[in-house]
Amino acid sequence: MSAGPLIEITDLRIRFHGDDGRITHAVDGVDLSVANGATLGLVGESGCGKSVTSLAIMGLLPKQSAEISGAIRFDGFDLLKTPDQTLRDLRGNRLAMIFQEPMTSLNPSFTIGDQIIETILRHRGGSRKSARARAIELLRRVHIPSPERRIDEYPHKLSGGMRQRVMIAMALACDPRLLIADEPTTALDVTLQAQILELMRELKAASGAAIILITHDLGVVAEVCDEVAVMYAGEIVERAPVDELFSAPQHPYTVGLLGSIPRLDHRAEQLATIEGMVPNMAQPPAGCRFAARCPFVLEACTKAPPPLTEVSPGHLSRCIRAPLERLVS
């Protein structure tokens, strides 16, 4: 592993200006880094800012309504200050992304071959013939049967699992250093999900790319990630190596999340629930954003926002009551 992380996000803040003049704080001071060859899981519920963070990395947020500050350093660039032309050279090349909906992210009026070849020609140049050969090779790598034939098919002829594999093939076309996968298996059946996760693991081992996996499925995180960042209301509330997060979480929100998934080996009559609602991000609360829903809350929690502090080496929590073991021993 080379010195320094592959991508380093510091103090990322994203605010959306609504038509009615309301400002929504979608992401509020996020720090993240991913090393070469590592997989980071970004976990959280709808609206926590995880997808917006990934779109900021890709430079895909609308300039008119999104106000972005902070820094995203990748491969010698600060992506937030990089001109559009350079960003276009990076996207699909060294930076690639897979989206949740394989149905809507392929263009229905071009064959899958055309769409992969376009990426290769744009970034690598060369002849159309060699690009086509590479596209067939990529389809084979993602286990699409008889790729020589499939390459000339239109997206509507492929099943959901196949389309997602085409998306992955396209993302891998130029050997990206960083792959962002936004809920890549959410729309798929368990059996297909297993195939895609297996494929991502295989590809990571072969290419050494770093992956940011955005998901709300903690089972998927446990399977493929090395490190996990949990987001709540625009902030990272906990960050830890995957084993530690699942065995000794240090933020009450993570505890609630882990307690609310049904287990195979543990038949609970009642699952844990997180009462209340996510705060309105147009007016975030003054103190801890989880305070109103937290059973471990203290008076101090509602006064000042808690900092993200290290509880044990490599394990950070945004909770003044951490380490939480003290509360139950």
Binding site: A222, L257, T273
Partner: protein, 367 residues
């Protein structure tokens, strides 16, 4: 005791293509000979991949669509012979909750109107007392009665699903069909709805048909499970028995693939090769044979029948007795770690369960 619901050899083929003159050219065999029964107060889960026919079965049971063949008996009555009037009466007994709480509530009606409509339709509650009954229904699903004046768009996804449940409960049914009721919801909301469904079952003695592709959820909520593949039930058993030792090769693959929230979980995942065959043209013989790792010649020509062992665990596979042990197929998540176990208990117990918590305690840290 007769079962609440008995379904026998249910068949539904949809016409997929017609000739110029309207003659059917191709059929999708969505449901092809499905039988099961369900007792009052119990939960049967239907599981399988997209397109296996699980949602079609649930609609057939309510006669929202008409079957081509087979029989459905509800409390001993033959549902298929009911006339329009009797069918309407039956709708009081069985209700359905859909996956998408955004699409299944009329955006132009207030919650109060949504909930009083079934009361009026079935003439259950005199109009003077309807408001009271609506309040009662809202309380039953954990919402405040004052919310009756609001419109669906003012609610979150979890709250809308609660409203959909309240609407189903309005007619005091004996059976509720839950078609992927929690798939569209976030994890923490999902657990609230699952808890609610369970609590209501205990209190009101409801039976559920629970359609889901999330197998951990199924394990949590179901008493009995039927695994479907391409319009047929390939295995059916008590939930605990199925998860302890799935028998059919398809169930094995399905259950082995459950992602579990435990890093480095021990698993022997069976990754199926090949695509799901089309229900338009299901393969001859066993419909799973194109993807089955244990396929033999006989499977390609002869369709296996569901055969039960002594304790009601039935499998449709020619090779049931020859297959290797499946005891280690379902991944083990080892439950909670000791620390997490305590933390989750404290989390669920509220402020009283944690030392020194509560906003009123002026923030003294006990440690």
């Amino acid at each position: 005791m007769t079962a609440l619901l008995e379904v026998e050899s249910l068949v539904k083929h949809f016409v997929a293509e017609r000739s110029l003159f309207g003659r059917p050219l191709a059929h999708v065999k969505a449901v092809d000979g499905v039988s099961f029964s369900l007792e009052a107060g119990k939960t049967l889960a239907l599981v399988g991949e997209s397109g296996c026919g699980k949602s079609t079965v649930s609609r057939l049971v309510l006669r929202l669509i008409e079957p081509d063949a087979g029989s459905i008996r509800f409390e001993g009555r033959d549902l298929l012979s009911l006339d329009a009037n009797a069918l309407r009466k039956f709708r009081r007994e069985a209700q359905i909750i859909f996956q998408d709480p955004y699409a299944s509530l009329n955006p132009r009606m207030t919650v109060g109107q949504i909930l009083s409509e079934p009361l009026a339709l079935h003439d259950l509650v005199p109009s003077a007392q309807r408001r009271e009954r609506v309040a009662e229904l809202l309380r039953l699903v954990g919402l405040e009665p004052r919310l009756a004046r609001r419109y669906p768009h003012e609610f979150s996804g979890g709250q809308r699903q609660r409203i959909a449940i309240a609407r189903a409960l309005a007619v005091e049914p004996k059976l509720i069909i839950c078609d992927e009721p929690v798939s569209a919801l976030d994890v923490s909301i999902r657990s609230q709805i699952l808890n609610l469904l369970r609590e209501l079952q205990d209190r009101l003695g409801l039976a559920y048909i629970f359609v889901s592709h999330d197998l951990a959820v199924v394990k949590h909520i179901a008493d009995h499970v039927a695994v479907m593949n391409l319009g047929q039930i390939v295995e059916t058993a008590e939930a605990d028995a199925l998860f302890a030792a799935p028998s059919h090769p398809y169930s094995r693959a399905l259950l082995s693939a459950i992602p579990v929230p435990k890093p480095q979980a021990k698993r022997s995942r069976i990754v199926l090769q090949g695509e799901i065959p089309s229900a338009l043209n299901p393969p001859p013989g066993c419909r799973f044979h194109t993807r089955c790792p244990y396929v033999v010649e006989r499977c390609r020509s002869e369709m296996p029948q569901l055969a039960a062992d002594g304790i009601g665990h039935a499998t449709a596979c020619h090779r049931t007795s020859e297959l290797p042990s499946s005891a280690a197929i379902v991944p083990s998540d080892g439950g909670f770690s000791p620390v997490l176990e305590k933390l989750v208990a404290a989390f669920s117990g509220g402020p009283e369960a944690v030392r020194g918590s509560g906003v009123s305690s002026l923030g003294t840290d006990p440690a």
